[in-house]
């Protein structure tokens, strides 16, 4: 009797653990990471061979939404070891689990998305690029080892941007 109880108990714990892990991973996958500027600065200051693309956008910005599929496609084109894409959302924190989450699901976005919770824009816009007026979309491409840095305000020109990326990362998965 006692041993049967123990088996049931262990069973319950086991099932709970499995469910816990599954649900944990599930919700983690779905939750948008909310970050401070420090987080971006760490990414920017990292010395490595990997090219980093920071793309600033928001769900309420129409040109950004028009451009989003292009960046999602780039993310699947390049080896993540060679180019790391981060889609930095300028949406409000209160919209992270609603409009932002909906847009990501609807567009099947698999790229890394972070929501930058840094409302004093004036304190960090110049740190991304002095030429940036603050208008989005905006994109920064950086490779610390190659000492290359390119900044784009507004929508990028698809062909010149792709060429520029190839220069910073000659090897792609597909070609």
């Amino acid at each position: 009797m006692r041993s049967r109880n123990l088996v049931i108990r262990i069973g319950i714990i086991f099932v709970c653990l499995i469910y816990g892990t599954c649900f944990g991973a599930y919700s983690q996958n779905k939750k948008v990471e909310i970050v401070k500027f420090e987080h971006l600065q760490k990414v920017l200051n990292q010395v490595s061979d990997t090219t980093v693309v920071l793309h600033f956008w928001a769900t309420w910005c129409r040109p950004c939404m028009e451009e989003l599929p292009f960046f999602e496609e780039l993310n699947t084109t390049y080896n993540p070891q060679k180019i790391k894409f981060i889609l930095v959302s300028m949406d409000f924190v209160k919209d992270a689990e609603t409009s932002l989450k909906n847009v990501l699901e609807r567009n099947k976005i698999k790229s890394k998305v972070v929501l930058l919770d840094e409302p004093d824009y004036n304190s960090w816009i110049d740190l991304i690029d002095k030429e940036w007026s603050g208008t989005i979309p905006a994109t920064l491409v950086l490779n610390s080892n190659l000492r290359k840095r390119k900044f784009y305000e507004g929508k990028v020109n698809v062909s010149t941007f792709s060429d520029e990326l190839k220069k910073m990362c000659p090897v792609t998965i597909q070609n």
């Binding site: 209160k94 409302p119 004093d120 824009y121 004036n122 304190s123 816009i125 007026s133 603050g134 208008t135």
Partner: protein, 217 residues
């Protein structure tokens, strides 16, 4: 020998002409670039005459008793403009009586967003009870002259004689998302400085906002 000096003289003269021509074209280019970027701090702002939601046309020169204006380029559709709506109303409430009323201007091409149409501007101004004129920049020439690139964007001008001198360009404060968490009130500080007869400290700030929708783009 004589022809040799003459030749040198000709080359020298030609050189001067070419350099001056080159210098001239360069300065034209620089001017054009500045015009693209709009007014700079200290520039004289050209007056405008734009249609208000009340039906009349509004110019800065209309009100002769003002000390200046808080000109807010804003619109209906942009979430950032919406987030600042009540704060813009509060600015007018606080500073209109002190000589710095608000003038709101919608720079957007209404065909880009139905929400930004003149009728919808009228509806918003009425529903919210705007105490300041809400103008439509139909030709977008005023917005271009200011160099507005996104909404909301604020330009504070001070009246000196018949002229309006630009004193501040930028955002309203340092927290779009949460009015209660604001620590730096850029526009209020600028106007308070002007009212106290002091120069504006921090006369330029950068913000994120909705890009202006230009016609034919």
């Amino acid at each position: 020998m004589k022809t040799y000096t003459k030749n040198i003289k000709t080359i020298f003269l030609l050189g001067i002409i070419l350099t001056s021509l080159f210098g001239f074209t360069q300065s034209v280019d620089e001017n054009r670039q500045r015009a693209d970027k709009g007014y700079a701090i200290g520039d004289v702002v050209t007056d405008f005459k734009l249609k208000s939601t009340s039906g009349s046309f509004v110019s800065m020169a209309d009100n002769r008793s003002v000390k200046g204006y808080i000109i807010v380029f804003t619109c209906n559709h942009c979430p950032f403009s919406k987030a600042y709506e009540s704060r813009v109303m509060a600015l007018d409430k606080k500073f209109a009586s002190q000589g710095y009323p608000v003038i709101a201007i919608n720079p957007n091409d209404p065909s880009a967003y139905e929400e930004d149409s003149f009728e919808n501007m009228q509806a918003v101004a009425k529903a919210k009870g705007y105490t300041f004129p809400y103008l439509q920049d139909e030709s977008q020439l005023t917005s271009k002259a200011f160099g507005v690139s996104r909404t909301p964007s604020v330009y504070v001008v001070k009246k000196e004689g018949d002229k309006f001198i630009l004193q501040y360009i930028g955002g309203i404060d340092d927290n779009t998302q949460d009015a209660n968490a604001v620590t730096k009130r850029y526009v209020e500080d600028a106007v308070n400085n002007l009212l106290a007869g002091r120069p504006v400290v921090g006369n330029f700030t950068k913000t994120v906002g909705c890009a202006v929708k230009w016609k034919g783009v």
